[in-house]
Symmetry: C2
Subunit: 454 residues, 2 copies
């Protein structure tokens, strides 16, 4: 077992100095929250909509936001008996009324529509919700949020800095954010970890020994089994795993980040040095030293939000890897990158070419009907090099249909099961670039991605 | 299910015409057997060795030899109570006395020494054995043979032609011969099949539906379980499987040969067209069309009999394939060929080269002690391209030690577990030839082997 050196207080101060909201920042945020709350009330009155309450939720409301983030979540709460239709139309009417004073407004859609506005420089979500009796009786996913707020706020009081440290530490490790692109830790999850373990430090120490199946149930009320690597039962809903979005690899990356940090507690675990984009010459050097085959399937970035796009890209990544494996190519790794205009599914292969001859293994000779059918089929087929018996099975050496990965993808990519928007975009056209060809992709962010890739 | 067309009588006649010993051939063989028998008796008397009997065994004694084969087995039978030492010295003394009239004599050794002589153009084995009460009480493996003779001779009478047909059919299919090179059917096994099934035709029909584990127990006295694909309990020894030497692939090759024959009963199944040696130009053509990598490990043929050599070659074939797989090369197939001067272990690979980068998969991150050790080791190692977490496991991209199969074999072949004589020979020197390099091997028999190989 490692013996860890502990976390110096000076380090924590140095981090907090950079992430704690300043007093003027706090005052401004609170003032804006007040303003928005009264705007909602005024709008409801003006539109003659009764029973509306305003709830400030999220990290802004709980004092756990990182300095520099300007997100405010305003929940417009309707009586439980309101119909879905009324919730949507009346809720959005109020939101739009508030938006009259905003610099910018945009309709968004989760389970229900909501309005995202820019208000005095803040990024504000105006979200209609039902006011239900408990989080286990919610009518819409967003109804849960006010309960989270009620649970966390009193318990986190005095520990806000610990949450800030943990959030920034997770950012530094690339595991902060529960959106479907990142599949990491949500803000609420971070708060629950601090409530459970008492501090940033204790969370880090505990995580070093986490295993998949790790379970945290603060209220001791979990009702069902969960399959995810980390199970944190929602204190406001015994059936929900707050860490359901956390992938196994992000779970492990966090464990690794904690262990490395405790071995050598440094500022860089919170604020890693920026990654420099890879130059053409570096790409060529790396290709030459690895001598593997790099392949990228490049297509126009579909015009959808990341939470829709990335699950489709991850699905495509799996499908492409499966296709390559099915046709005998050995995949070293796969990845996805998506920029403003172009998106790439990346693959590294042992080799992009295979021999023309393919060993096709048939059924055992003694499984008579199958074996005879198999033999008849291949004996008479075109391009058969030869046949023999090995380990009791018929083997035919047949002509490989796709001796190059490029040819395979060009011909069969569209037969992969792809998500709707990705399918559309790929169907409009895609390009397969290989090895030095990837120098064609110049986007700064792609070149940063490449430095991690090769 | 196939419906077979039956076996035309004319076909059988046509085959028998070529393999049935002619009357003069039979007379001559019988005369020579008589001569040898009396030679043995005279020798025993002359040397003053009492209790010696002569037993003519083998196909010559049972009338089931193929025309043109001139093998005679003369067993010199001693009383059971004879010591091993006496059996060997007295038995060989008698044999040597007989050998005085031979054109050529050569000491050979199975479990005991015996003498192989050429006598009036016949290939004769003079084999000392114990005269035991039953085959289950044998003192030496050869003691069993006279019992085989006693069992087969009366039962095969009148069916000798059926045995001849089956033997020749197996020859045509490359499955006749129980020596360790061939791992096929022995003559005795062929006779037992005809006794069991009644005829050549019935044997062929039955074999079409054989499965591994097929059991034939004519005397219904089998005592132990056998693992081999075909189990034919020795009628003279309930513990012995007569088909123990038959490999799974030869078992299957025979099944296949039977099925194909019944689909299209032709003379070529008994007398296949000779295989022509592959010319250099054909080798190059085939390499170009297959585009795989051919490798041959070539060394001086060890000076031992095939029954010693081939098990060692098969073992080497396995060991080399395992070595290549261990280092990530994909083996399509392996084979061995052995000529008078040179021997080659053949391998066909997807590719003889691999990238420099090798994906090294470590333990899951949560298996703390192992995972941390693994990470520490590779993080600090030379030639590491990078590391990441995938499916919960640490992955390091390390520098591949052997990016070519040739380099691997040159460096590590001697670390393979090799048989004694093969080890000696390989240790004295070996050559690795690749692709067009195999044109260097000119032996006629190798070029015939090559035509089957590629």
């Amino acid at each position: 077992m490692e013996t860890y050196t502990g976390i110096p207080e000076e380090l924590k101060f140095a981090v907090l100095e950079r992430i704690q909201p300043t007093e003027p920042e706090r005052e401004k945020l609170f003032a804006i929250q007040e303003e928005l709350a009264s705007q909602v009330k005024i709008a409801a009155e003006k539109l003659g909509i009764p029973g509306v309450l305003v709830k400030m939720v999220g990290s802004a409301a709980r004092g756990t936001w990182l300095s520099g983030t300007h997100d405010i979540d305003v929940f417009i709460s309707f009586p439980e008996e309101t119909s879905r239709k009324d919730l949507e139309t009346l809720g959005m009417a109020i939101a739009r009324e508030v938006a009259r004073y905003a610099e910018h407004a945009e309709d968004r859609h989760a389970e229900h529509p909501y309005l995202n506005i820019t208000y005095k420089g803040f990024d504000v979500d105006l979200v209609p919700c039902f006011r239900v009796a408990s989080a286990s009786q919610i009518k819409s996913a967003v109804d849960r949020t006010p309960f989270h707020n009620d649970f966390v706020k009193p318990r986190i009081k005095g520990h806000e800095d610990e949450v800030l440290l943990l959030k920034q530490f997770m950012r530094g490790g690339g595991v902060y954010g529960s959106e479907l692109k990142t599949q990491g830790f949500s803000g609420y999850l971070t708060e629950l970890l601090v409530i459970r373990y008492g501090s940033f430090k204790n969370t880090i120490y505990a995580a070093c020994s986490w295993k998949p199946g790790e379970k945290i149930d603060i209220m001791q009320h979990g009702e069902i089994e969960h399959e995810e690597p980390l199970v944190v039962i929602d204190p406001t809903d015994p059936r929900r795993n707050v860490a359901a979005a956390l992938s196994l690899d992000k779970f492990c990356t966090f464990i690794d980040h904690c262990r490395e940090f405790l071995k050598n507690p440094e500022l860089s675990f919170f604020f890693p040095a920026p990654i420099l984009p890879l130059e053409d010459s570096e790409i060529l050097e790396k290709l030459e030293s690895r001598k593997s085959t790099q392949l990228a399937v490049v297509f126009k970035t579909p015009d959808v939000v990341e939470d829709v796009l990335f699950p489709q890209l991850y699905k495509m990544e799996q499908a492409v890897a499966a296709l390559l494996k099915e046709y005998d190519f050995t995949v070293i790794k796969t990845g996805v990158w998506s920029g403003n205009t172009e998106t790439a599914v990346m693959m590294e292969l042992i080799s992009g070419t295979l021999p023309n001859v393919k060993k096709h293994i048939g059924p055992p000779v003694w499984v008579k009907v199958h074996a005879e059918k198999f033999k008849e089929k291949y004996q008479a087929a075109d391009g058969v090099f030869g046949g023999y018996i090995e380990n009791g099975k018929y083997i035919f050496e047949i002509l490989r249909k796709y001796p190059t990965a490029r040819g395979l993808l060009e011909d069969r990519l569209m037969s992969c099961s792809l998500g709707k928007q990705v399918h559309q975009s790929v169907n409009e056209g895609f390009e397969i670039i290989e090895n030095a060809g990837i120098c064609r992709l110049k986007e700064y962010d792609f070149r940063i991605y490449l430095r991690k890739w090769i």
